[in-house]
């Protein structure tokens, strides 16, 4: 790990935090639950790390830990996106009023 690389990773980190703050701060409260489950699905990005750990075939323990990580991250990803989609599908604006 060189200092340059560390500085670059930190730079990415800080900029992404600011971007996240800008993106989220204007979300209306009616969407807070889907926003949370949707961003939750995104946090399943750990699956990327899990795939590497599981697939490298380095040693048995790392592989098993990685495989478990893949499974849990996939629950997070698949469950999160699907349930968010299910919720959002319910948000409707009815122009015509029920008679």
């Amino acid at each position: 790990m060189t200092l340059e690389l560390l500085a670059m990773l930190l730079m990415i980190f800080v900029l992404a935090i600011f971007l996240g703050v800008e993106l989220i701060s204007k979300v209306p409260s009616i969407l807070h639950t889907p926003l949370m489950s949707g961003s939750n699905a995104i946090s399943g990005i750990t699956v990327v790390g899990a795939l590497v750990a599981s697939g490298e075939g380095h040693n048995m323990l790392s592989t098993l830990l990685g495989t478990a990580a893949v499974a849990f991250a996939m629950i997070n990803v698949v469950g999160g996106y699907l349930v968010t989609n299910r919720m959002l599908a319910m948000f409707k604006k009815h122009e015509e009023k029920p008679q």
């Binding site: 971007l19 989220i24 009616i30 639950t33 489950s37 946090s43 469950g79």
Partner: protein, 466 residues
């Protein structure tokens, strides 16, 4: 570095950003979610071509198991149970990060043991790895406790004991000391690494048990943020940009929601996390006692039938009674009757941010009828009837008027200022915070006792008769 894979990572990051942006508007939210899921797919594909995959069979097994469980969970979950679901998913995200951190540390540890390759574990790796497993572990165990509280597997009341602060401080200190010792010489200190994971798990438990059920919107938002931070830290461990970017986005979004929830209760995050709010029954009922006027379903029907405008104010009781559908039915009846109907939603009503909105959307209530607190308060004097369904503290005028009240300063929906208030409630019991609600004794308040769903059904029946 593989150019194709890196490009896919960049595209994935862009899709996450656009997806999150679109999630912020009702009209585009669904598409936003879809875009972000495409981003995830690209990130996965990028990873599979980036790295030499020696044992794809394990990956396939993990993906199938995880994917199948995810599909089932997303299908069967009831909308009233969304807070539990999100808590659980947060926890799994945290656990995945913990496992990634552990797997990576173990890989490096094996390399150190191998005399053929000269290898040492860098300080950078040691620090980021131990932070990953601690944050991942505390996200996991904290989420499991939050899930248990929401599911009512364990008590929703704050669990407090003497010396709690001391225990928390000791656990935190253990993390710091253990982290330093481990980082100084990671290869020699595998047992300390294991201990750190355990301490992280303990920290999650000790930090969530003192938090009461009604403060769960804050806790879930915070755990959401932690799950992002854990992913971000795992990104530092394996030096992967897309993990760092994405984890930070989620971390930031969780923190913002946490902040919004705290503001909506006029409490600091520290107060929510450490005070054990709601554990002591407030004794200061400041003599606002008056007469409670209870009405029958029939009387309530006449009040509603003649109202020009009705504002529903739902709370957690609506979710508990699963009364969202029949509530919408009543709203339809009123609308047919020529009444102007809308819903006033307090930001912390329910057990997670936006909980009420999801329930009402499920019941087919058009989202333009769902009004935020700041939208309904300015004109609430002109509302003929406010119908409070299973809400208590969020409509308690003591928060506005009584300086001594524990919830003083918390913004409320000022239903008491409308012409008539109908409060649907099971009994006169106090709300979560254990605080008397002067609203129930007001001149213009009518109490309609009973299970929310039953009462609403009876009201609908009255309308059908009439």
């Amino acid at each position: 570095m593989n150019f194709v894979a890196e490009s896919l990572y960049i595209v994935a990051a862009i899709l996450f950003v656009i997806g999150l942006k679109r999630l912020g508007k009702p009209a585009t939210a669904r598409k936003g979610n879809l875009l972000s899921s495409v981003g995830m797919l690209l990130a996965i594909v990028g990873t599979l071509i980036h790295f030499e995959i020696m044992s794809p069979e394990y990956i396939v097994v993990g993906m199938i198991i995880g994917g199948a469980i995810g599909i089932i969970l997303a299908r069967i979950v009831q909308m009233t149970e969304m807070p539990q679901m999100v808590a659980l998913l947060n926890g799994f995200g945290g656990l995945a990060s913990l496992l990634v951190g552990w797997a990576e540390f173990h890989r490096q540890y094996e390399n150190v043991l191998n005399p053929d390759i000269p290898h040492t574990i860098e300080l950078y790796t040691a620090v980021t790895t131990f932070l990953t497993v601690v944050v991942g572990g505390l996200t996991f165990s904290g989420s499991v406790i939050a899930w248990a509280k929401l599911k009512e597997v364990m008590t929703g009341k704050p669990i407090l004991f003497t010396g709690q602060q001391f225990v928390n401080a000791a656990v935190l200190l253990a993390v710091l000391v253990g982290g330093v010792i481990f980082s100084m010489n990671p290869a020699e200190n595998y047992p300390i690494f294991i201990a750190l994971m355990a301490v992280g798990l303990i920290l999650g438990v000790t930090s969530v048990i003192p938090i009461g059920g009604a403060d769960m919107p804050v806790v879930i938002s915070l755990l959401n943020s932690y799950s992002g931070i854990a992913g971000c830290l795992a990104g530092f461990v394996i030096q992967n940009n897309v993990l760092i970017v994405t984890g930070s986005l989620v971390g930031a979004s969780g923190i913002i929601l946490t902040n919004i929830m705290c503001k909506a209760m006029n409490r600091s995050l520290a107060n929510v996390l450490f005070s054990g709010f709601g554990s002591v029954v407030a004794s200061s009922s400041s003599g606002t006692k008056g007469e409670v006027k209870s009405v029958s379903v029939e009387d309530a029907y006449y009040i509603l039938e003649s109202a020009g405008s009705v504002l529903f104010v739902p709370g957690y009781g609506l979710a508990v009674a699963q009364a969202q559908h029949v509530c919408r039915e009543l709203a339809d009846m009123l609308h047919k009757n020529g009444t102007e109907v809308s819903f006033g939603i307090h930001p912390v009503a329910g057990r997670m941010p936006g909980h009420m909105n999801v329930l009402l959307a499920e019941a087919n209530v058009s989202y333009d009828l769902l009004k935020e607190m700041d939208e309904v308060n300015p004109t609430i004097e002109s509302v003929d009837v406010c119908v409070v369904i299973g809400a208590n503290d969020v409509v308690n005028p003591a928060a506005r008027d009584e300086k001594g009240s524990p919830i003083y300063g918390m913004p409320i929906i000022n239903v008491d200022k409308s012409k008539t208030v109908i409060v649907m409630k099971r009994s006169m019991a106090t709300g979560f915070a254990g605080i008397e609600n002067p609203l129930f004794y007001k001149e213009n308040t009518r109490m309609l006792f009973g299970d929310a769903k039953n009462v609403l059904q009876n009201l609908v029946a009255e309308f059908k008769k009439g």
